[in-house]
Symmetry: C2
Subunit: 197 residues, 2 copies
DNA sequence: GCCTACATGTAAATAGTTACATGATTGA
DNA sequence: TCAATCATGTAACTATTTACATGTAGGC
């Protein structure tokens, strides 16, 4: 989880540990934070595995910084983690899923759509379970009931949001394929039989 | 966290591990789940520390169950954990806070109000930080922006919900004190000077 | 008779946090 | 000059999951 976040941020530009921590807090802090005690060892691990490397190039090292940049190996590792076939835990864990979403720009529309659908299904199942539980168990304490109701509504809001995102992905795919089809026809008209791109 | 949940559930009635796990999943599963690998060792710890004890009384043990009940010592431990002076992590960690709320019935209105206020302040601060960040950093990726916006709105919805709960607690306190005041006056009229309850 | 759900547990791994330790740089 | 923030790191601890291991009871 942490390594995915680090690689994703270093993909944008080289940074040192302290800067990474700040950016993680500001950017993702609304759903996830890290401590130095976990950040620095992670950087060490990533360097050891060759996913990142030191980059002092830009007259750095005046201040006692260790600036890191992502390597081609790291780019691959990042894409693997990001596109990885998703399991139950990754779907159930909101923070994990959100972190993935924070780097959605790096995935193809199909992959994004697939992940969004999986998450939507998971949340819908949760709602169904909740409803089933509620219909059996009516005598629950008021605070607990209120809490679950609030969670229930937030989950419904999550699903509506996912629906909007999914519609957007479908539109992206439709447009792209429409344009490709059109291009093909034009090419065909001009040069005869040409296989699709 | 887990121990608080176990004690809170056993306060209602004795249960065995398997049953606890099911109830935890159904009741709190929408924001928190546990595995057996963490549940059973926790039960062992709680038994060892004298917070829970085996209760085979009701012709159990036909099936291979270990039914536990909470002890007076456990009740105390539970109340300590629940009412404990809250630190930053407990405020920031939504799951932790939600778990506390699931057992709000066992706290006095003042304590509930205090916890709700602390949480409200924390969330409000988060929103302010987010706004500050947004105003500086405009060039962010679309998916990330969308994600943070959604989180932002959910946090606002959380705050509105907390406000409703706080109003309810204030009303509870007002009613109670009003009634107490009235009672005192009546007592005074009938029997002369009597100190407040 | 066999499959599903019931029921308990352990060992190893995972993914962190907390507390500590140290020192440099900058601005008021 | 002194406080705040920048900057890096380690050791010990915490809380948990995953994978494994084992066996029982009830229903079809």
């Amino acid at each position: 989880m942490l390594e995915l976040a680090i690689l994703g941020l270093l993909k944008e530009r080289p940074m040192h540990g302290y800067e990474l921590k700040k950016r993680l807090s500001y950017m993702l802090g609304h759903f996830w934070t890290v401590s130095y005690g976990s950040l620095y060892p992670a950087l060490k691990r990533l360097e050891k595995s060759g996913s990142i490397e030191r980059a002092y190039s830009i007259k750095e090292k005046t201040r006692n910084r260790n600036v890191f940049r992502i390597t081609p190996r790291g780019e691959k590792a990042f894409m693997n983690m990001l596109g990885e076939e998703i399991n139950d835990t990754a779907l159930a864990d909101t923070e994990k899923f959100d972190l993935r979403m924070a780097f959605f720009q790096y995935l193809e529309p199909e992959k994004r759509l697939h992940l969004l659908e999986m998450r939507r299904n998971y949340l819908t199942e949760q709602l169904a379970k909740f409803k089933a539980y509620r219909s059996v168990n009516k005598d629950e304490d008021l605070y607990r009931t209120g809490l679950l109701k609030h969670k229930f509504n937030q989950t419904k809001s999550d699903i509506r949001w996912l629906d909007r995102l999914m519609a957007h992905e479908r539109e992206t795919i439709r447009k792209r394929d429409g344009a490709a089809g059109k291009r093909n026809i034009e090419v065909e008209t001009a040069e005869g039989q040409v296989s699709a791109v």
